[in-house]
């Protein structure tokens, strides 16, 4: 057993609270360790000194004062049971006008927030709507070949490529009248 462990157990050893196994182990350590024996003597002296120091006497009339206050509390509340019962849930004893006002303001704020948010969201959808893709029909017209989107990579002018843009521009130009 290490000395720090032995010293931590001394308090319970003095109070005779140690289980038998720990007591035997401690006593075995104490037989071999003069430092811990000295420490044990010090703990015993310290505890004796501490316990010999009394507290001042209980103030006279303490019980009467406590009972008077208890009586006042119960008198103002009706009974101990009422005084001590768990706080009643707010939805059971109703709401005060302030609470109702607060709840109404909160609900109105939420409603306004939802309406404004919805409008903003709709507007942003309109303004940020993607440009219609470069006329796929025009590409198809130029080549006279129909390709599904997923096969567009195999065409000579895949969508979004420079050739496709070039073709779309030239096809527009060709339709313009000078």
């Amino acid at each position: 057993m290490r000395c720090d462990r032995a010293q931590a157990m001394m308090d319970r050893y003095v109070a005779e609270e140690l289980p038998r196994v720990e007591r035997v182990a401690l006593e075995s350590h104490l037989r071999e360790c003069p430092g811990c024996r000295q420490q044990l003597a010090q703990v015993q002296t310290l505890l004796r000194i501490l316990r010999n120091v009394p507290a001042p006497p209980v103030p006279q009339g303490l019980v009467d004062r406590v009972m008077a206050k208890a009586g006042q509390e119960i008198g103002s509340q009706g009974s101990v049971v009422q005084t001590c019962s768990r706080p009643v849930a707010w939805w059971r004893h109703g709401l005060t006008p302030q609470q109702i006002g607060f709840a109404a303001a909160l609900a109105a704020g939420l409603l306004v927030g939802v309406v404004l948010g919805r409008q903003t969201w709709t507007n942003s959808l309109r303004t940020s709507a993607p440009e219609p893709p470069i006329a796929h029909a025009q590409v198809m017209d130029a080549e006279n070949v129909y390709l599904p989107d997923y096969l567009d990579y195999f065409s000579s002018t895949p969508r979004g490529s420079f050739p496709e843009i070039y073709l779309s521009l030239t096809s527009v130009d060709s339709n313009q009248e000078f």
């Binding site: 501490l50 010999n52 120091v53 103030p59 303490l62 019980v63 406590v66 009972m67 208890a70 101990v80």
Partner: protein, 178 residues
Amino acid sequence: MPSDEELMSAVAEGDLSAFEQLVRRYQRSGWNTAFRLVGDLHAAEDIVQEAFLRVLRAAPRYRPTAAFRTYFFRILTRLCRNHRRRNVASPSGDLDAWVSQGPAPEDIASSQEVHSSVNNALASLPARQREAVVLRYYEGLSYGEIGWVMGATRKGVERLLARGRAALANKLGKLLEK
């Protein structure tokens, strides 16, 4: 004689005489503990009164999962802790004052000197060490009970007590050598 827990059940049903029995049973240990933890006569009385009133208010919610004694000390030590937080300087003035009241013969004078030294040493301990020391060496609570009262593990209590004893031994060195 009814147990503390039986008295608490009666208090929960509005029996003030049961409450008075509890107050009478615990006034001394409550007072001693509060005084040793806050070191102020008036504050200690206020704290003890408040602790009993809280017991009264909480009686319907009390479940005997822990002994009433530890339940009471838990309330009391929390009130003492709150008091110390509000009054940062933990006074030891009353601890000294009450031992030096009145004329005393020389042999008593020397014991008063010892009392004063012990009280000063106790007052100088950090709050949690002081709580552990007072609950253990003056009120005789077990490590488990102190842990429940203070919200600490048994190991934590063991460490607090070991440090507390070391600090006290350091401050009371001369007394321990006698």
